[in-house]
């Protein structure tokens, strides 16, 4: 596999404010990477650096092995971008906007454009000024997807879309993935990331906290254990890896990081009546990272 996106020590500083610090990242060809982080984490800064709209303060980024700042026009022939907020020309119609953005990209699939217009139930005859936020976002999505670019960079692409259209978006990204397109998806909608992404990167305060598949992250994260006993629960607070112990009557709740066997051994020897354990959802992983670092 070859890396479509590669960053090395990528940093961006505005005066004393560090927007992004030492980002080392690789996105493989055909992969869908979810890029998560709270507001101000540096997600949009990363995307603007990848697009060559801003220059790095340190480090560098390449896309298709070309420097993102020096070779921006060459790279842009092969990528499509959807901004989080579609700032389009209010005096142009949807059709004019699609023509303009298609022509400036160089090539686009007209039949697929029409298919996308139908899929997203979009009316291109109106002026952009009259579109709702959701319709403007549909326009930006269609303009990007119709290019069938090798790389899609999506910054909160579904903001303003209703659940039905969000589902259509997921179908389109699944299609793109099956066509071998690479997707860099920055999103706040964790279910969307969970459903679409091969790997997830979590960013906070301009630094990359975690990157990996969801399975890898779950393996590293704490497992929740909820056990009910016939008598009083045993004291598990000294068991390695156990934290957040709560005891209520005959019920024990705790979290365990790392090997679960020592805890299971004590529980099994204490007359357990009911035992539940669950892996964290992406939302819990996400929150646990922010909880840890706040």
């Amino acid at each position: 596999m070859t890396a479509t996106i590669r960053t090395s020590g990528l940093s961006k500083r505005y005066g004393n404010f560090i927007a992004l610090h030492d980002l080392n990242l690789e996105v493989q060809q055909g992969e869908v990477l979810g890029y998560l982080g709270p507001n101000g984490a540096g997600k949009t800064t990363t995307i603007r650096l990848l697009l060559g709209l801003i220059a790095p303060s340190a480090g560098h980024a390449t896309i298709f092995d070309l420097d993102t700042h020096k070779a921006a026009p060459e790279i842009h022939r092969h990528l499509a971008y959807v901004p989080g907020e579609a700032n389009l020309w209010p005096g142009l119609t949807g059709r004019e906007t699609l023509a303009l953005l298609g022509n400036t990209h160089g090539a686009f699939d007209e039949a697929y454009r029409d298919e996308l217009i139908a899929r997203f139930e979009f009316d291109p005859s109106k002026k952009v000024r009259s579109y709702s936020k959701g319709n403007k976002q549909k326009l930006a999505l269609i303009a990007s997807l119709m290019t069938r670019a090798e790389l899609l960079i999506l910054d909160e692409p579904t903001s303003g879309l209703d659940p039905l259209m969000e589902q259509r978006f997921r179908e389109s990204i699944a299609e793109a993935k099956s066509n071998g397109q690479t997707v860099f998806l920055s999103s706040h909608i964790l279910s969307e990331v969970e459903a679409l992404c091969d790997r997830v990167a979590i960013l906070r305060g301009g630094e990359l906290l975690e990157i990996g598949t969801l399975a890898e992250m779950r393996h590293l994260a704490a497992v929740r254990v909820d056990a009910t006993f016939d008598a009083d629960p045993p004291d598990v607070s000294q068991v390695p890896g156990v934290s957040a112990v709560e005891i209520q009557d005959h019920r024990l709740r705790c979290q365990v990081t790392g090997p679960i066997q020592p805890l299971l051994k004590i529980i099994a020897n204490s007359g357990v009546r009911e035992l539940l354990s669950s892996e964290p959802s992406l939302e819990e992983l996400f929150l646990s990272h922010y909880g840890t670092h706040t």
Binding site: R48, L51, G52, L53, I54, A55, A72, P73, E74, H76, R77, L79, Y81, P83, E85, N87, L88, W89, P90, G91, L92, T93, R95, E96, L98, A99, L100, L101, N103, T104, H105, G106, S125, K126, K127, R129, S130
Partner: protein, 547 residues
């Protein structure tokens, strides 16, 4: 339980403080430029008094000046007792004040009413404990506060100027003169507010208000050009300003239609604000296909598509004005000839030896200001593409930054060249039956002669855009305002050549009255292109920044 019972009310004092929050916000947004323009006009009052007192110390000289100035009444408006300091000052400031006032007022009121609505910020304000009518009233109150500040600054300078030797305006006269100087701004604030309610967009509101200014000017111009149509002055807001004559033979009755217009526009604005839906309008914006989308192939065609309406309006508006003035050349020349040799002496000071060509030379100086403003608006529009985030859509495709910038700059230069050619052409059309003796080629040459300041402004604007994009608007409008101000104050700074040279207008020869200085023009164009090149290099290296 009722809502009133369930909600704990704010303390009374806090509620009172928040009641005028929109008015205070608007006043804060509008006060700076109101203050700046008040200062400019105030300084102009002092400069004009000084120029009159020092330049024309004897009665004979002032009578000669008054006679010579009759030729320019068509352009500037009818004067009264121009042989006195008061009469001359009032007359000379009249046009400047209503042009500056109208530009400031229309931009401010359309921007703070319809512009805020277009941007979606108006609905945030309306989501508060207010109604569209109350919010509109608050905007009008905020604008009035800014206008009051402008009046106070002008009044201060006029009172100081009025106390100078040989001026003797008196307190009442000075205050009335200050009212006359802000009356254009007051009326066009109200017209802008009404246009904001009936128009579909801020751009349409600005266009509509500008048309009102143009019509008012043309009606006044026709009235001043023909004695039998004197009464027409009473149907034009600009004519009312002229009829006020604040310092000599004041006609307070002229204040009546002004007040009626302002009150009527404000009342109708508030009424319409309450009746219409948010983002709805009386006038509809043209919808439909919007033209052939295949034509939109890249940044140049996009620039042409986005600026075509405003640029055409600007070019045709300037051209139409020149055409009308051209058609009145015969009347102006007649006055000039009749008042010879005093006129000849005045014109020869400006290097103008032929009355008709000299008159047209001064007309083209106004065209130079118009074309410079066209160049400045093109630069502001370029910056707006970036600050709004729309430029991202282009630059994330295969369009290199340099290609986009050169496209914008190229279109801007083409627009000012076309404006220059159209100015010459329309003046020729207007003056064709006036037997001026000035041929079409001479007028075309005069039109091209006023292009270089526009090219220089485009170059300087591009440089600032490349280095400090946030300052682009302030820089380009600042250069135009500075050039205009230095030109106005030229009588005061005769001995400071470096200061006079800092104005672009100083370097514009008054063609066709005199031959254009193509060498000087070439330097200005090359400087402009050089600055644009440096700006492009800086733009290539900097981050793209949006607001």
């Amino acid at each position: 339980m009722s809502v009133a019972a369930a909600v704990r009310p704010f303390p009374r004092a806090r509620r009172r403080q928040q009641r005028w929050v929109i008015a205070r916000h608007v006043a804060r947004s509008a006060w700076l430029w109101a203050f700046v323009w008040g200062l400019v006009l105030g300084l102009f009052v002092i400069a004009t008094i000084q120029a009159m007192v020092k330049g024309y110390p004897t009665v004979q000289e002032r009578l000669a000046l008054a006679k010579s100035m009759q030729a320019f009444e068509i352009l500037i408006g009818q004067g009264h007792r121009l042989d006195t300091v008061a009469g001359f000052t009032s007359w000379r400031l009249m046009t400047t004040s209503y042009i500056i006032g109208a530009i400031w007022a229309i931009r401010t009121s359309c921007g703070l009413l319809r512009g805020e609505e277009d941007a979606g910020r108006w609905e945030l304000l309306l989501a508060g404990p207010t109604t569209p009518r109350r919010a509109t009233i608050q905007v009008l109150v905020g604008l009035s506060v800014a206008l009051l500040l402008m009046w106070a600054v002008i009044a201060l300078f006029t009172l100081i100027g009025g106390r100078m030797a040989a001026a003797h305006f008196g307190v009442g006269g000075s205050l009335l003169e200050s009212i006359a100087l802000i009356s254009g701004a007051a009326m066009f604030l109200a017209i802008g507010a009404l246009a904001s309610q009936v128009s579909a967009t801020a751009g349409q509101a600005t266009m509509l208000s500008s048309v009102v200014v143009g019509v008012a000017y043309v009606v006044r111009l026709i009235a001043d050009a023909n004695n039998s149509l004197d009464w027409l002055r009473w149907v034009s807001p600009i004519g009312w300003i002229e009829e006020l004559r604040p310092l000599e033979e004041p006609q307070l009755v002229a204040l009546v239609p002004m007040v009626v217009l302002i009150v009527a526009c404000c009342v109708v604005s508030v009424f319409l604000a309450g009746r219409r839906d948010l983002n709805a309008s009386v006038l509809r914006e043209r919808t439909g296909s919007g033209g052939n989308p295949r034509w939109l192939r890249g940044p140049v065609s996009l620039t042409l598509r986005l600026t075509r309406t405003s640029s055409l309006a600007w070019i045709l508006g300037t051209g139409a004005w020149l055409g009308i003035v051209g058609s009145l050349t015969h009347s102006a020349t007649g006055i000039i000839t009749a008042s010879s040799p005093a006129v000849a002496a005045t014109l020869s000071r400006l290097g103008l030896h032929q009355a008709t060509a000299g008159f047209l030379g001064l007309v083209f100086l106004f065209a130079a200001i118009g074309i410079s403003l066209l160049a400045a608006t093109q630069m502001v529009s370029m910056r707006d593409e970036e600050s709004s985030g729309r430029l991202d859509n282009i630059l994330v495709r295969r369009v290199p930054r340099m290609a986009w910038l050169m496209g914008r700059v190229g279109v801007a230069i083409a627009m000012v060249v076309i404006a220059g050619v159209v100015s010459g052409l329309f003046t020729w059309i207007g003056s064709a039956n006036q037997h001026t003796g000035v041929g079409p080629l001479k007028l075309l040459e005069a039109g091209l002669n006023v292009v270089p300041p526009g090219v220089f402004i485009i170059g300087a604007g591009t440089l600032v855009f490349g280095l400090r994009p946030q300052l682009t608007g302030a820089a380009v409008y600042g250069i135009v305002a500075w050039s205009f101000l230095i030109d106005l104050l030229s009588a005061l700074i005769k001995n400071a050549d470096w200061l006079r040279d800092s104005s672009l207008l100083t370097h514009v020869q008054l063609a066709p009255g005199v031959n254009p200085d193509w060498g000087s023009n070439a330097i200005m164009v090359l400087l402009g292109l050089g600055l644009a090149g440096l700006g492009a290099l800086a733009f290539q290296r900097r981050d793209i920044a949006y607001d």
